[in-house]
Symmetry: C2
Subunit: 238 residues, 2 copies
């Protein structure tokens, strides 16, 4: 007897809850800093507290939620300093992904990457901002997938999620748009030559420049207090 490589279904409530909550956090439906009352979310998701709490522990482990014992959970605030640190690691991961992708990617995958890049350029020219950002993410995800490294893929995904959250609430400079497309053009040239070192270096550079822009855009929106779902808390009187 052999265990099937892919389980038919792995639907447990806490697992679904993790995905649901993560999506809610990344979509901004649960903004950074808000308290996460258990009972309220329970009836909202139609589940009991037990699976919800298990989901919160997982999300805390991922860094999307902060657990304060006996004081409730909050959606993790977006700290510019932390985002800066994440980007420093991300640079290294992008470089690694670019290098490994050149080494391990198939021709079919490179062709697909080319098509995605064409789509990106088209969307840029058409000014379709939302579509552009989606394609942009897909391209980077594709590069990471071509690296053939599950550990890299998982780590990358975790950081990408946090960065996505930072970008969305910073909605950052449009002036960077053209620059970003040019950089994409640059590392795509390296990819077409299968130049691993160059591709990695350009990807890292692209990440670094993105970091600068995002963090700069993030600075004004620095004050991340603890908010309640209804409204701000009246804290200081005088």
């Amino acid at each position: 007897m052999k265990a099937p490589a892919r389980p038919i279904r792995r639907a447990t409530l806490h697992h679904s809850a993790v995905e649901e909550l993560r999506a809610m956090i990344l979509d901004g439906e649960l903004p950074p800093g808000v308290r996460v009352p258990e009972v309220q979310l329970c009836e909202q998701l139609g589940i009991s507290r037990t699976p919800l709490r298990e989901a919160l522990r997982v999300l805390s482990s991922e860094g999307l939620v902060e657990l304060r014992p006996h004081r409730g959970a909050i959606v993790a605030p977006v700290d510019p300093g932390e985002i800066g640190a994440i980007f420093e690691v991300m640079d290294a991961l992008e470089r690694l992904a670019g290098t490994l992708a050149c080494r391990n990617g198939s021709d079919a995958e490179f062709a697909k990457l080319d098509r995605m890049h064409d789509q990106l350029v088209t969307q840029h020219e058409a000014g379709e901002r939302a579509a552009y950002f989606l394609t942009n993410r897909q391209i980077h995800t594709q590069i990471v997938a071509m690296a053939r490294n599950p550990a890299l893929e998982a780590t990358y995904a975790g950081f990408a999620a946090k960065i996505l959250r930072a970008r969305s609430l910073a909605n950052y400079d449009t002036g960077r748009w053209q620059e970003s497309v040019d950089e994409h053009e640059g590392f795509m040239k390296a990819f077409r030559r299968r130049d691993a070192e160059e591709a990695g270096a350009l990807l890292a550079d692209h990440s670094r420049r993105t970091a600068v822009a995002v963090i700069q855009a993030l600075r004004p929106a620095a004050a991340q207090g603890e908010k309640t779902a209804a409204g701000a808390e009246p804290m200081d009187a005088g």
Copy 2:
């Protein structure tokens, strides 16, 4: 009223359970592949199923435990391929750590690093293998701490844990010992010069060579079946 920066006690049962179980897994007390029956561990830890299950979910998120819905949890097997992938990422992280440590470390920290290195050499000459490995880990942890990057620190710790597990059950080649000390000597020279690039490169190289040795030692011990969780004594911690 002021909130203390460090909570006096953050003792919740599930949090303690996470640390306890993680230690048990890393110490080899719970070897890879063994089933983790909830009720048995409950009475062993003196807690109820609820906090234990929350702990299992967290450890699953960290990759130390595999959850199979309705079929119980097992300690994550050590897959040589996965370890290889982890090491690929680890190389990049070591390089980054070395570079950042040169940039951000204080003189006091570099002095401490020097002392730790002296201790390492002494322990090598004395043939104190266990003490050597401990100091070795402390050195690398210190370098990462000097990088001043919490995201790097957390990611590094997660991978280091998995690698530690692989090393312990591979108990790998003694012939590599001398080589490893020489490599330490090498990147320490770069550190003394605060040569960020060189230090990073040598650390990455050190990591890569370690990977080769560990994976090679791991190959014989490949077959990782599902064992039952009896209180099996660790074979020999040489």
